[in-house]
C-alpha cells in the first residue's frame, strides 16, 4: 500500500526531523549517548526512507521485530548514558543481552511463547526507562518541562509497537496503515522538541 500524498509529506517531514536529530539535535551529549541516539534515530530515518520507497508493507517484514526493538532500546541506553552515567555499562550489557535474546528467539526452532515473552520484556523495560526517566529528571529539576515530550514520544513508540503487533496478528492493514505516518511524525517531533528544549 503506497502512502497517500499527505502521508508522504508527513513521512518526509519525519525523515527531515530524524536527520536533524542525527546531525545536530544530539550534539554535546557525550560520545556514548551520541552513538546510542545515532543508532535509534538512524533506524527511524532508514525505516521512513524505506517506507517512502517501498510502501507501508515494509513494516510486515520479519526483521521489523528486531529493528523496532532496537529503536527504544538504543534511545533508552542513550538516555541512561547521558543522565545516569554510573548505569552506562549495566544498561549496555542489559541492552546487548536483550537484543541477543530477541534475535535468538526469532529463529525458526525457538518456541513462539519465548519470542513473545522476550520481545515484551525488552520492549517493556526499555519503554519504562524511556518513559519514566524524563519525568524523574523534570521533577527533580535536572531538565526543563519540555523534556516531558521525550516521555510522550516514548509512549507513542509503545503505541507504534502495539499497532505493529496488531499488524502481525492479521488486523486489517488499511485501518492500521492509516495511522502509522501520523504516529511516526508525532513521535519524532516529540523527541526533537524534547531534546531541543531540554
Amino acid at each position: 500500500m503506497k502512502p497517500s500524498p499527505l502521508d508522504r509529506v508527513l513521512l518526509l517531514l519525519t525523515a527531515i526531523l530524524a536527520s536533524y536529530q542525527v546531525a545536530i539535535g544530539i550534539e554535546g551529549v557525550g560520545t556514548f549517548s551520541i552513538l546510542a541516539y545515532t543508532i535509534g534515530f538512524g533506524i527511524l530515518l532508514i525505516a521512513i526512507l524505506l517506507i517512502l520507497i517501498l510502501g507501508l508493507e515494509v513494516l510486515e517484514l520479519p526483521a521489523v521485530v528486531i529493528v523496532s526493538t532496537l529503536l527504544p532500546v538504543s534511545l533508552a541506553v542513550g538516555l541512561v548514558g547521558q543522565y545516569l552515567p554510573t548505569w552506562r555499562v549495566p544498561s549496555l550489557i542489559g541492552a546487548g543481552i536483550g537484543l541477543l535474546a530477541v534475535a535468538l528467539t526469532r529463529r525458526p526452532r525457538a518456541p513462539a511463547w519465548a519470542a513473545m515473552v522476550v520481545v515484551a520484556l525488552v520492549h517493556g523495560v526499555s519503554g519504562l526507562v524511556l518513559f519514566s526517566l524524563p519525568i524523574v529528571l523534570v521533577l527533580s529539576g535536572y531538565t526543563k518541562y519540555a523534556f516531558l515530550l521525550v516521555s510522550l514520544g516514548s509512549a507513542l513508540i509503545g503505541l507504534l509497537g502495539l499497532l505493529l503487533t496488531f499488524l502481525r496478528r492479521g488486523r486489517p492493514k488499511t485501518d492500521l496503515f492509516r495511522y502509522l505516518p501520523t504516529l511516526f511524525f508525532l513521535l519524532t517531533l516529540c523527541f526533537t522538541l524534547g531534546f531541543a528544549f531540554r
Binding site: S19, V22, A23, I24, I34, T38, I46, I53
Partner: protein, 293 residues
C-alpha cells in the same frame, strides 16, 4: 501567418529535453556542484558557479544526446527504451547527431574557457561516456559499466578540481565514491530489465555471470561506495554531525546491498535501485550543507 512552426519547435525542444535524461543529468550536475563546493572556496562567486553549472550541464546533456543517437537501434529493441524520441523515429538521426555535437562542443568550450584543467576533466568524462563506454565497449562486454562509471565520476572530480585548483586525493576519493556507486545503481537496473538487454544483445553482468555474482558485485560496490564517501567526507572536514548522518545513510545502503545478496527479491532490488539514487543525492546535499553551515 504560419502558427505550425513555433508549435513544432516547442515539441522538438520537449523531445530533445527528454533526450538529455533530465533526472540523471541533474544528479550528475549536483555531484559536480557539490565537488566544487567541497573545496570550501568562495562558493557565491556567481560567475564561476553559473559557468560550472552551465558548462557541466551542456557537456552532460550533449554526451547523453550522443549516446541516445548511437544506441537508437538497440533502444528500439527494448520495451523500456523503445519510446525514446530517437528509437521511436520522432527525430531525424542526423539532426540529433548535429545537436549532440554542438551542445557537447558548447559545454566543453565553455569549460575550457573557465579553466583548462577543469575543461580537460569535463572532456574526459564526455570521451569516456560516448566513445569508450557507448561506442566501443557497451555491445562487447558487461565490464563497459566500469568505464561508464569513470565518466559518471568525472563531474565531481572536475568540480572539485575547479574549486581547489588541483586534482587532490579528496577529489579522487569523491570520484571513487561515485564510481563505486554507479554499479549499485546500474546492476540493479540490469537485473530488473534483464530480458530487455538480452533481446537487444547487450551483454550485462546478470547475462554473463549470473544473478549470484551480480548481487555480490552490487554488495561489494555498495561497501566501497559508502567507504569512499565517508572517507571523502572526513577529508573535506565535514562536521561530525553531518558525517554521522552520512554514516547512517551509508548503513542503509549496506543493509539493502546485503539484503539483495542473502534475501534476494524483486522488492529489495527495486528499493536498492531507488535508495542508491537517494543516497547519492543526500550525500551531495550534505557536502553542500556542511560548507554553507
Amino acid at each position: 501567418m504560419n502558427t505550425a512552426t513555433p508549435l513544432d519547435l516547442r515539441a522538438k525542444i520537449r523531445l530533445y529535453w527528454l533526450l538529455t535524461k533530465p533526472l540523471q543529468s541533474g544528479l550528475l550536475l549536483a555531484t559536480g556542484l557539490a565537488g566544487y563546493m567541497s573545496a570550501r572556496c568562495p562558493v557565491f562567486n556567481l560567475d564561476t558557479l553559473l559557468g560550472l553549472a552551465g558548462s557541466l550541464f551542456l557537456a552532460i546533456a550533449g554526451s547523453t544526446i550522443l549516446n541516445m543517437w548511437w544506441d537508437r537501434d538497440i533502444d528500439a529493441c527494448m520495451r523500456r527504451t523503445q519510446s525514446r524520441p530517437t528509437s521511436a523515429g520522432l527525430l531525424d538521426p542526423r539532426e540529433v547527431l548535429r545537436v549532440g555535437l554542438i551542445v557537447s562542443a558548447l559545454g566543453i568550450g565553455w569549460a575550457v574557457g573557465i579553466d583548462a584543467r577543469y575543461g580537460l576533466l569535463v572532456f574526459a568524462g564526455l570521451f569516456f561516456d560516448v566513445v569508450v563506454y557507448s561506442i566501443w565497449l557497451k555491445r562487447r562486454t558487461c565490464w563497459s559499466i566500469v568505464w561508464g562509471g569513470v565518466s559518471g565520476a568525472m563531474p565531481i572530480l572536475a568540480g572539485r578540481a575547479l574549486g581547489v585548483g588541483a586534482v587532490d586525493w579528496i577529489g579522487i576519493t569523491l570520484a571513487l565514491g561515485v564510481l563505486f556507486w554507479i554499479p549499485t545503481h546500474t546492476l540493479t537496473f540490469s537485473m530488473k530489465f534483464a530480458a530487455d538487454y538480452q533481446a537487444a544483445g547487450v551483454p550485462t553482468f546478470p547475462s554473463t555471470y549470473g544473478l549470484g555474482v551480480t548481487r555480490a558485485a552490487i554488495a561489494l560496490s555498495s561497501v566501497l561506495a559508502a567507504l569512499a564517501m565517508i572517507l571523502a567526507g572526513y577529508g573535506i572536514g565535514m562536521a561530525w554531525g553531518f558525517l554521522r548522518l552520512l554514516g547512517v545513510l551509508s548503513a542503509g545502503l549496506l543493509l539493502l546491498a546485503f539484503a539483495i545478496t542473502f534475501r534476494p527479491s524483486e522488492h529489495i532490488n527495486f528499493s536498492l535501485f531507488k535508495y542508491a539514487s537517494l543516497y547519492m543525492l543526500a550525500a551531495m546535499i550534505l557536502v553542500v550543507m556542511d560548507v554553507l553551515s
